[in-house]
């Protein structure tokens, strides 16, 4: 829908992906969810207002996808990282690749929505 911010969600856990999708739709955002870095790469150039990216993806990790997005594709869309654990070195790497925010799982939907709305 024109005028409605669009968000790409990259998350391999179907329950988490669905919860994230519902959270963002609840906040009147347009959402597309995919389960792997491979599927995400095909969609990255479509122009997203924000990307919600899980760190632990099957195959290519979320951090590697973030690097490719920034360095190889030159995409500067805001990225909200989701991770099961908060390791300082992961946070530092994510911030080095200009991730906007870093949230841990289990996540608070209100917090996620606030983080995404702050950047779209």
């Amino acid at each position: 829908m024109p005028g409605v911010p669009s968000v790409l969600v990259v998350e391999d856990d179907p329950t988490v992906a669905r919860l994230v999708e519902m959270t963002l739709r609840f906040g009147d955002l347009e959402v597309r969810a995919v389960g792997s870095a491979g599927e995400a790469r095909d969609l990255l150039t479509e122009g997203w207002d924000a990307i919600v990216l899980d760190i632990n993806l099957p195959g290519t990790s979320g951090l590697e996808l973030l690097r490719q997005l920034r360095e190889d594709l030159g995409i500067d869309a805001p990225v909200v990282m989701l991770s099961a654990q908060r390791h300082e070195h992961e946070v530092q790497r994510a911030l080095a690749f200009e991730a906007t925010t870093y949230l841990t799982k289990p996540f608070a939907p209100d917090e996620l929505l606030e983080a995404v709305r702050a950047v779209v």
């Binding site: 856990d13 179907p14 329950t15 988490v16 669905r18 919860l19 519902m22 959270t23 609840f26 908060r86 390791h87 300082e88 799982k105 289990p106 996540f107 608070a108 939907p109 209100d110 917090e111």
Partner: protein, 405 residues
Amino acid sequence: MWRRYGDAAYALFVLAGFVLQAAALALLTWSFIPAASGLFPGATPARALIGALLLTTTALLGIVGFILGYHVIGARRQALREADVRAWTERWTEVVFGAEPPPGPLPPAALEGLLEVRDKLRGSRARAIDRLFERYWRRDVLIRPLRSRRLIRRLDALERLARARLATTFFPVLHETENADARTRGMALRAAARTLALYPEGPAMDEAQAAFAKALKDDRISTGVALEAMMLLEDACSGVAIRLFDDPTPRWLRWAAIEAAGRLERVDLSIVIAPLVEDLDPEIRAAALRALHGIRTIPDAAEHSVRRALHDDVDFVRVQATRAAELLLFGSVATRMWEMLGDPSWWVRRTAAETMGGHGVAGAEMLGWAARSHPDRYARHMAIQFLFDDHRIDLGTAERLRQAV
């Protein structure tokens, strides 16, 4: 899936198979005893052999048929059950975001679906799910199986409670850490830890943390299980760990608390861990140094202790101190790092090279100098090896340096 619930039936089938085999062999043996052959006039060896083969075939077909049937039927039931749980997970997801809750009573798949959703959330939506648990299932429905005599039922119940993370179930779960069965104790500790990780803030949290710390002090709980449980505490780890750093706590548990604090990067515990760098126990000293390195913080008051640990008599303590020295000003440890490149322990030498390599330009320059002119041969070799491993020199340069020294 296999053998989760089919133990009794499988055991009966195997018993039947062996009984048939034993009967067949007995009959066959009997048929070859000349004196006995008169008792069964028709039982010639040939007929007995055929009979034995038939019985053996029957037994094998029975057991194989049971196994295959179990898998086929079990797989189908599992697939149906998973589809059911997925449907309920989707329904509960919609309820969390405002859809009308379904009317009760609800099937077991509904509970699994709600647990699946609860496992992924925290905050106000998670508390809404807690209220759904209370609405549809009496607390004792979740707790009662803990008292089952069957191990699998107790473990299933604990797994459900670990996913539910209901604060009201914390103490009943914690009580199971006193169970006579080690597997139940371990599972209960993990379930209690996951529940405590999302416990509501307030005075009740303090009481829960104290109770958890006390449960950890059970001698029957292994160090590995204690460490795993403390890692599951996540943000609640600090409140528990701080109760375990004092002397009455067994040494192995203090080690686990320090280790967990380091791995979880609990900055708030760095002040409490720092004095342990000078503990009498070398394992505790090493753990404290490793934790400070993990937390990436050495309190100012502890810097001198860390520098002193670089001279520790125990090699694995020196290794951890060398690693932690990465967080100190290079100028304050440069001389000691130079000396440690020639340490008798290979691990200390390697860690010293890595620490120097992590100290920017100054560290790299010192490493290059060590590769050419350190008085100790092993130190020169270690410097060269590290520079090569870290892609700072190529193979040709490394070979030339090795030959020169």
